[in-house]
């Protein structure tokens, strides 16, 4: 079989910085091709090169053959004709990928109209049909809705409908599910799979997640620093893994840090019947404003030295609960006690109570004031002490040493550090007051798998050495399995299941937990065995 699209020696530099270094691959008709790599590996730029939609300042060389025709030699007008008709693309961020001031049906119909494939009325009819095909039937989701009236998953469906409106031969999906919850991800992946089968379309699936390609792709290529380091049929690639980088990536994604049990029976933080409500937006002239209960009678206990996981999808109330636990937002019912003392939000919460609890956030880039040096950033919690420590610099150095950073890091600004190092600094800031409990709010979710594995090791080590308790909030079941003793599953503001992590993840009782676990993509166990056997 001949290739439908083929890249030969594709190289790319942006403002002189090399991004791609001689990438070659081929996609056959109706095939799903997975392109895997960590951030900065060049996988997204490969996609944009194929579409010839590179950012300004980009210089590409090499050949891209679509059915034997070299796209690099085509003019812009010819490329416009091909885009949307022969090849289409959907991107990662469903929230920003749609025009906010145009209805979804119009956006889908536009693909047909700009290619003069249909007159407006006919285009709309086809658009509705395509929307129905991607799971947005007009009677359930009115086609005259605007993007902001849809959920993230629905928006991604609209983007897919737009891309497949003209039944292109190639669909490039760049991290199509990364911004979505795991159950939504499963639905979108199933939709893409069905489309490939029914429409005979080739799919290039770009992702950082090995488990996603394992379940989707016929063939897989692994990218590292602008090169394809290994390529092959999915099963043989996963069972052999010839290239050390592929193997490292795989090991890191399933990394299990060595943990020593430190949990004691003594309760540290006790939440009882916690309720937190928000007033709903919208104007009502009479009567009380409708309220939304974000946290709905939540009760749980964290023991000293314990690592407790909290799992749930976006909007389930995890963040609201975190803020309530930290005493940042008031609660509307129940109570939260830390070491027997009640946490009251806002200015009444005593500093000595705040000192016992610190937090690490998800985004290593937003977690630090860019104008402060690391030493001052790590020392910020000293504000909670009645008298400042005698040797603040030594305390900061100690905290930095705890997370494996040299003492001279304190004199540098945060932009001089990588994402993984920043997350270490965030942990150092949380540890500097030697708290009893650290809340890790999706603290490893934004990191590449190899960095994530290192941070998980660090967390396991810190817990063993310092005996502190983690509340580990995550949407990623693999991570929760790796680092927690017990886990809470949260859905729509309630805790629906609670128990030993291993038990909950292997034999879930609540239907929601079962759905979550089933939806999480997995590398087949047989392949894992073959690899290690």
């Amino acid at each position: 079989m001949t290739a439908m699209i083929e890249a030969r020696g594709l190289s790319l530099a942006i403002h002189g910085m090399p991004i791609l270094r001689g990438v070659s691959f081929a996609l056959r008709e109706g095939e799903t091709f997975g392109l895997v790599g960590e951030s900065g590996s060049g996988k997204s730029m490969t996609a944009l090169s194929l579409m010839r939609l590179l950012p300004e300042g980009a210089e590409a060389s090499g050949e891209i053959l679509l059915a034997g025709r070299d796209l690099m030699a085509l003019g812009e007008a010819e490329m416009c004709d091909l885009r949307g008709r022969e090849m289409a693309m959907i991107s990662q961020e469903p929230m920003t990928a749609l025009n906010p001031v145009q209805t979804i049906a119009d956006q889908v119909a536009e693909t047909l109209i700009v290619h003069a494939a249909a007159r407006p009325r006919e285009a709309r009819r086809i658009a509705l049909e395509r929307l129905a095909r991607v799971g947005l039937p007009p009677d359930a989701i009115p086609p005259d809705r605007y993007p902001h009236e849809l959920s993230g998953g629905q928006r991604q469906r609209v983007a897919i409908a737009m891309a497949i409106a003209l039944r292109p031969r190639l669909l490039i999906a760049d991290e199509p599910t990364t911004a979505l919850d795991v159950t939504t991800q499963a639905q979108i992946l199933a939709l893409l799979k069905g489309l490939v089968r029914e429409e005979g379309m080739g799919l290039m699936l770009i992702t950082h997640d090995l488990a996603v390609v394992a379940g989707m792709a016929d063939r897989v290529a692994v990218m590292q620093e602008g090169r394809i380091v290994e390529e092959g049929d999915t099963e043989s690639l996963f069972t052999r893994m010839r290239h050390p980088y592929t193997r490292a990536l795989f090991e890191a994604s399933a990394h299990q840090p060595e943990r020593r049990p430190t949990a004691r029976a003594e309760p540290l933080l006790v939440a009882e019947d916690v309720v937190r409500e928000y007033r709903m937006p919208g104007l009502r002239l009479f009567g009380p404003a409708p309220r939304f209960r974000a946290v709905d009678h939540v009760s749980f206990t964290i023991h000293k030295g314990e690592s407790l996981g909290l799992v749930g999808e976006s909007g389930c109330g995890k963040s609201t609960l975190t803020r309530a636990l930290l005493g940042l937002d008031p609660i509307d019912g129940g109570r939260i006690r830390l070491g027997g003392e009640e946490i009251t939000a806002g200015r009444h919460m005593p500093a000595r109570l705040r000192r016992r609890m610190q937090v690490v956030f998800q985004d290593p880039y937003a977690s630090f004031d860019p104008r402060w040096k690391v030493g001052r950033l790590v020392a910020e919690p000293f504000h909670l002490l009645e008298t400042p420590p005698e040797d603040p610099a030594a305390r900061v150095a100690e905290a930095l040493a705890d997370v494996g950073l040299p003492a001279d890091a304190a004199d540098r600004y945060i932009h001089e550090f990588s994402g993984g190092q920043r997350q270490r600094i965030a942990i150092a800031r949380a540890l500097v007051l030697k708290p009893d409990l650290v809340i890790l709010d999706e603290a490893v979710s934004a990191l590449d798998v190899s960095i994530r594995a290192q941070i998980l090791d660090l967390l396991a080590d810190l817990q063993a050495r310092l005996g502190l308790a983690w509340l580990f909030i995550s949407h990623d079941l693999n991570v929760v399995r790796a680092i927690t003793d017990r886990v809470l599953v949260m859905q729509a503001g309630r805790i629906v299941e609670e128990g030993e992590t291993e038990r909950v993840l292997t034999a879930p009782e609540h239907p929601y937990t079962q759905t979550l676990i089933k939806a999480a993509p997995q590398i087949p166990a047989a392949w894992r065995k073959a690899l290690h056997g």
Partner: protein, 315 residues
Amino acid sequence: MIRYLARRLLSLALSLIAASIVIFAVIEIIPGDPAAYMLGLNASPEAVAALRDQLGLNGTAFSRYLDWAGGLLQGDFGQSYTYRVPVAELIGERIQVSLPLAAYALVLTVLIAFPVGLIAAARRGRPADWGIMAATQLGIAIPNFWFAMLLVLLFAVKLHWFSAGGFPGWEGGLAAGLKALTLPAIALALPQASILARVMRSSLIDTLHQDYIRTARAKGLTRRQALLRHALRNGLIPVLTIMGLQFSFLLAGAIIIENVFFLPGLGRLIFQAITQRDLIVVEGVVMLLVFAVIVVNFMVDIAYGAADPRLRRRR
């Protein structure tokens, strides 16, 4: 949309009430006794009392405010002390010059700024963009009344295409009236058009970097199609805000520029009233100007709601 409209209307009414209170307080409360202030230091107590009576300035501040505001609602701005006629009559005459002038200038501003901003954004980084940016940079820096003088110097004194000033009135026909307002309108419009064109350009360039533009290009739209079909409408939203602000600059500018062209507009009226200490006229004209600014910004808000579906639902 109806809910959005109702909310905006409510805030319009509140703004007008608040503005009228501020104006009333400055004119009628801060000077102590406005009648004494208007007559000056040498006035006899009897004359002051008589004027106070005549202007209806007796009674508590609160009741006077209610009287004044009630009058405004019926189009009664009080009596001018110097002209001895109702202020509404004076305003009625003069507004026939100032309002058309500001509106004329706004139309010119938009007609110049939109295409220029669009061209600059479409050709960003190229010579056309560079030229537009340089020209508008200069345009922003030029005071409109000075530009007006230069126009008079060139078109009236040297070329004799226009008369140097004066206004024939609308009785002489629409064309003659518009002709008399053309130079002042150009002088007002060019600096504002420079600002608006730059806002338009940067707003369009901002939107051109959005993800949905890449989505549109991936659908097969050309650069130009993506600009016109997707970036334009989204980019227009900040432009609307600036247009609302510009109206108040244009109105203020119109009042200043009337001096250059000897136009019998609100500017002449109010500057004479200030020198003659005719507070009632000042109060009326200021209220009218502020009213115009608030109403225009209300209309901008409505246009906002029409342009951006996200605003209609919330807030």
